[in-house]
Amino acid sequence: MNIVVLVKQVPDTNSERRLTDSDHTLDRASADVVLDEINERAVEEALRLQEAHGGEVTVVTMGPDSATDALRKALSMGADKAVHLSDAALHGSDAVQTARALAKVIGTVEGVDLVLAGNEATDGRMGAVPAMVAEVLGLPALTHARKVEVDGSTVRVERETDEGVAFVEAALPALVSVGEKINEPRYPSFKGIMAAKKKPVTTLGLADAGIDAAEVGLANAATTVVEAAPKPPRSGGQKVEDAGDGGVRIAEFLAAQKLI
């Protein structure tokens, strides 16, 4: 079974994250960038499926040159090869453009049975790209999976929502986006790290992937971020002085906030 995993390099959630003043796109230069943790889980799931069913795992990213580090990390975990779509013209692409571009790149990989993605990137947080990619490719989309099983040509997923769990299935090929509870990602082993540098990484520009420059990038995006304001700093909170009734008053406060 051949699996493509869509992985994104994002600013480390532990570092200070900002938008650039000029065009409100993500300021990647000022933050440490890492392979998004949700994508580590997607890679982990792909490797587990590969261990059970064979086949090849290809990781795909669209991002600046530095995104090769994210690919290398995925390769060190055990993925077989990587494709990197990198072109200055892609800067500022919105979710639809990103999905269309990724669909083109997936098309360059032979015999794809399953596309795995994270359910939401920690930077853009659109949570839309996976379903959009599925739409462009005409694949069934099974999103927010907390469990994935493949049985012959069927993929079964436990889909977690706020209301409960849905058990859904689809025929392969299909796209699955995974949630945080899916698994605990493995550490890249040092042998894996040493082996990763010998694994193939294909870098594609727009033309290589058959993407029209007039369809991507900030200038051609359907949406524009016009303004951005940082979250106000947290206020001091509310202090309860304990005069013997502290417990009761805290419980009342929590009940008033509908937290208990």
Binding site: D32, P188, F190
Partner: protein, 395 residues
């Protein structure tokens, strides 16, 4: 960068000179992986292990899976990483605790290395894959109750009896001794000092852990007792005779120490920096006082110099050009400065500096061991003195 959350700025403060820019992609990923591993598996527990004086044995297979054990060796299940890669791994391990790095140093550089370098094919096959995987633990027995800085004065002996060898003697202060499935024991023979592989459970071979330690508490340190231990002919390492054998192993391990203590010092420095920025006395953060800044700056300067030195020695080692004197230089400087940084950091924390809620005193205590083992401060000074003057001062 704003002054808000200290832990968000200290990663760079600990590497002011951007020494890590010199790392390759694999080395960077190794550092990041170990850092994450210790963050998840070691830091939440280390204070408890240290106070109770236990080594987290259960982490050994995890370290094996990661590929840390014997990572700088090739073949037999070893990762074949660069010397710099091995160095950054030691640094990130020791940023958590010197005991953890000691385990890895002993396993990889003192137990696996002699088997890999001087062992027979059969010995390598028998021991190395299991040791790399963390299924088997090794130790290195050189020091004795009456033989420390002068290991050539060892009394432990091995004599031939028919085809067998019979070992007698005692080894002292042996890291991993009580855990070890195999002890690499150095003993005098008629031909000179030789290394023997002594499996756990061999009749006459017992170990006793040393419990009353004020340093390196999350590490097992033991005495090895060899009482008419009979070993087959093939228990001896065939590839080396003389003190060159154990000394070459120590050079490997010392290289890891040169890097490791940079990690311990970095943790102490970062702790002191973030503490100083938030602790207020006389109405302002103590980091604003010139005397405190002097301490912070001195710590940062020495920390970064030590990191540079480690990188430089790593590059020399990867180029096959590192000499024993240069390793002495690194061990002497980096351990001495790391200990100074730990002690200075402790003063910045005031009373909290002696609390186990902060890692500083633990690191400072551990570094007292690191100052002594693998050649004391004095011994490395005299090694360099000899290199400079051509005159031996230690005999």
């Amino acid at each position: 960068m704003s002054a808000a959350a200290p832990e968000r700025t200290t990663a760079r403060a600990g590497d002011l000179l951007d020494v890590d820019r010199a790392l390759g992609d694999e080395e960077r990923l190794i550092a990041e992986t170990v850092r994450r591993f210790v963050g998840e598996h070691v830091l939440p527990e280390i204070e408890g292990w240290y106070e109770r004086g236990v080594f987290p044995r259960e982490l050994v297979p995890e370290l094996g899976r990661l590929g840390v054990l014997g990572m700088h060796l090739t073949g037999h299940g070893c990762a074949g990483a660069s010397a710099v890669g091995y160095g950054v791994a030691c640094r990130e391990l020791e940023a958590a605790d010197s005991g953890l790095r000691s385990f890895v140093s002993v396993q990889g550089s003192l137990a696996m290395f002699p088997i890999w370098r001087y062992g027979s094919e059969e010995q390598k096959r028998r021991w190395l894959p299991g040791m790399a995987a963390g299924e088997l633990v090794g130790c290195f027995g050189l020091t004795e109750p009456d033989s420390g800085s002068d290991p050539a004065s060892m009394r432990t002996s091995a004599r031939r009896d028919g085809r067998d060898w019979v070992l007698n003697g005692r080894k002292m202060w042996i890291t991993n001794g009580g855990l070890a499935d195999v002890a690499v024991v150095w003993a005098r023979t008629d031909d000179g000092v030789r290394g023997f592989l002594v499996p756990r459970g061999t009749p006459g071979f017992t170990t006793r852990d040393i419990h009353r330690k004020m340093s390196m508490r999350a590490s097992v340190t033991s005495e090895l007792v060899l009482d008419d231990v009979r070993l087959p002919e093939d228990a001896v390492l065939p590839g080396v005779v003389g003190m060159r054998g154990p000394l070459s192993c120590l050079d490997e391990a010392r290289f890891g120490i040169v890097w490791g203590v940079v990690g311990a010092a970095r943790t102490c420095f970062e702790t002191a920096l973030s503490y100083a920025r938030t602790r207020e006395q006389f109405g302002r953060p103590i980091a604003g006082f010139q005397l405190t800044q002097q301490k912070l700056v001195d710590m940062a300067v020495e920390l970064n110099k030590a990191a540079l030195l480690a990188h430089h020695l790593g590059q020399l080692k990867d180029a096959g050009a590192l000499t024993p004197e240069q390793i002495s230089f690194g061990k002497l400087n980096n351990v001495r400065e790391a200990l100074r940084i730990a002690r200075t950091a402790r003063t910045v924390l005031g009373a909290n500096g002696i609390s186990s809620e902060y890692p500083v005193m633990r690191h400072a205590n551990n570094l007292e061991s690191v100052l002594t083992y693998e050649g004391t401060n004095e011994v490395h000074t005299l090694v360099l003195g000899h290199a400079l003057t051509g005159l031996r001062a230690f005999q």
